[in-house]
Amino acid sequence: MSFVAHLINGISLGSVYALIALGYTMVYGIAKMLNFAHGDVIMIGGYVVFVTASGLGINPLAAIIVSMAACTVLGVTIERVAYRPLRGASPLAVLITAIGVSYLLQNVALLVFGSDTKAFSNVVTLQNLELFDGQLIIKSVTIVTVIVSIIIMVGLTFFVKKTKIGRAMTAVSEDQGAAQLMGINVNGTIAVTFAIGSSLAAVAGVLLCSAYPSLTPYTGSMPGIKAFVAAVFGGIGSIPGAFIGGILLGVIENLSKAYISSQLADAIVFSILIIVLLVKPTGLLGKKALEKV
């Protein structure tokens, strides 16, 4: 039974990774850039919910919507101010800028909210699921996170494949110049991509902080890096790949912690990533060759 419990914990963590990885992969897939600040947008999303729900006492659901709106504005602003002027610059310049934005967000949060850990109250107040006479408890936040990440994965896939703006995104991802020759507003399309990625970050932030209820300015940093690994693992740019990569990463990490060593868990996770990339350089579901960053 303990194996099943560890597995479920892994899926719980993995579904948070999956949610974050979806944002990463979406932005990478369309704009061909790694938005390393994505994890920190999650942290900001967490603080917005903390301030509005715990501080101002508004309904948690409304707080999530406020947080999504705030993160969307933040994401679009970051794109407009930091990344758009670098369109056409070397990928390295963009990457360094993204890392800079990441530090900026962490330090702004440090300044505004302080370095102390905030106790985040779980917004998922549903009953936990008890199985086998209480021998196995699945937390409701786990169930909600898994369901939400599946819905978002399916929704995003549908959006990209079936809607006009989704197809414009595919066109932009393949060839920005040719997309412009079709009359597609490339900058606008990339802004929409950031808006979607950042509103997902807000959802991920809430669920991350609900499952692991402590919030600091560095809360988004490590899950952000892990989720990036998950996205590469699954095949960066691939929406189902991000989901599968996230879940697998969470499960591997948790099982390593449980059965091998909690200190070595991260090392094991990264070793597996390296092995996967050696065997299949494009990741599990990736099609195109991975671009150098």
Binding site: K164, R167, A168, T170, A171, E174, D175, G177, A178, A179, Q180, L181, M182, G183, I184, N185, V186
Partner: protein, 236 residues
């Protein structure tokens, strides 16, 4: 007034001046050929006209409107389409979706449908392969797709950048036939070509571009018999 007027255009890549003050005009209904050696600046010229690159100075007037600083995506709905060098079809989209991308700025569903019908009539191969991924088409088929895609925006002028590049002689003839028919249906054509002989044969007038400057211009039939053109571009 000419449909498209380019005046004293200068374009730089960094410090390198690729276009050094060219002027040309395209009248409604004409086929204009723009010929020149590799690196002369033909592609740069077309890219600047459709807004992919911004010029350093000079002006581009299209149907009376100054589009020199207009973002490229806003030029398409004004009636200008561009078949880019190297086709640049969307490899991961189906033939049908590629054609629909061409109609991206249009709203009227029925008109788009009619237009699609017209494109399929002109390029029966595209209809046969409409569900196929564009990346798996042959080079010639991709060229047809790139042309069909441009026609889906119902342009009043179409810019084509070396449509016959890399195609077998039979396909080359087919492509030139299509250009002729596009022109006959009332669309103005600005054609960049390496195949100067064929381009001059279907063009009304032509410009010869040499390292960023126009060295010769005039009636296509006359240029065909010009000694300098014969020597440099017709291999005679």
């Amino acid at each position: 007034m000419a449909m498209l007027e380019v005046k004293d255009l200068h374009v730089h890549y960094g410090v390198i001046e690729a276009i050094k003050g060219i002027s040309f005009e395209v009248e409604q209904g004409e086929v204009i050929a723009l010929i020149g050696a590799n690196g002369a600046g033909k592609t740069t010229t077309l890219h600047t006209v459709t807004g992919l690159i911004k010029p350093t100075s000079g002006s581009i007037i299209f149907e009376g409107k100054d589009i020199t600083r207009t973002p490229g995506y806003k030029i398409v709905p004004m009636g200008m389409a561009h078949v880019p060098e190297g086709r640049r079809v969307f490899a991961q989209l189906s033939v049908y979706d590629n054609l629909m991308m061409g109609a991206y700025t249009r709203k009227d569903k029925n008109e788009i449908k009619e237009n699609l019908h017209m494109v399929y009539e002109r390029f029966p191969r595209l209809e046969e392969r409409k569900t196929q991924m564009a990346g798996t088409l042959s080079g010639g088929e991709q060229q047809m797709l790139a042309m069909g895609r441009a026609l889906m925006s119902q342009p009043s002028i179409i810019l084509m950048d070396e449509p016959s590049m890399g195609l077998s002689p039979i396909f080359v003839n087919e492509i030139f036939d299509i250009i002729k028919r596009v022109s006959q249906s009332g669309t103005t054509v600005l054609l960049v070509e390496q195949n100067a002989k064929k381009a001059l044969a279907i063009a009304d007038r032509a410009y010869v571009l040499e390292t960023g400057m126009i060295s010769l211009e005039g009636d296509a039939g006359e240029l065909m018999h010009n000694d300098a053109v014969k020597k440099a571009y017709l291999g005679e």
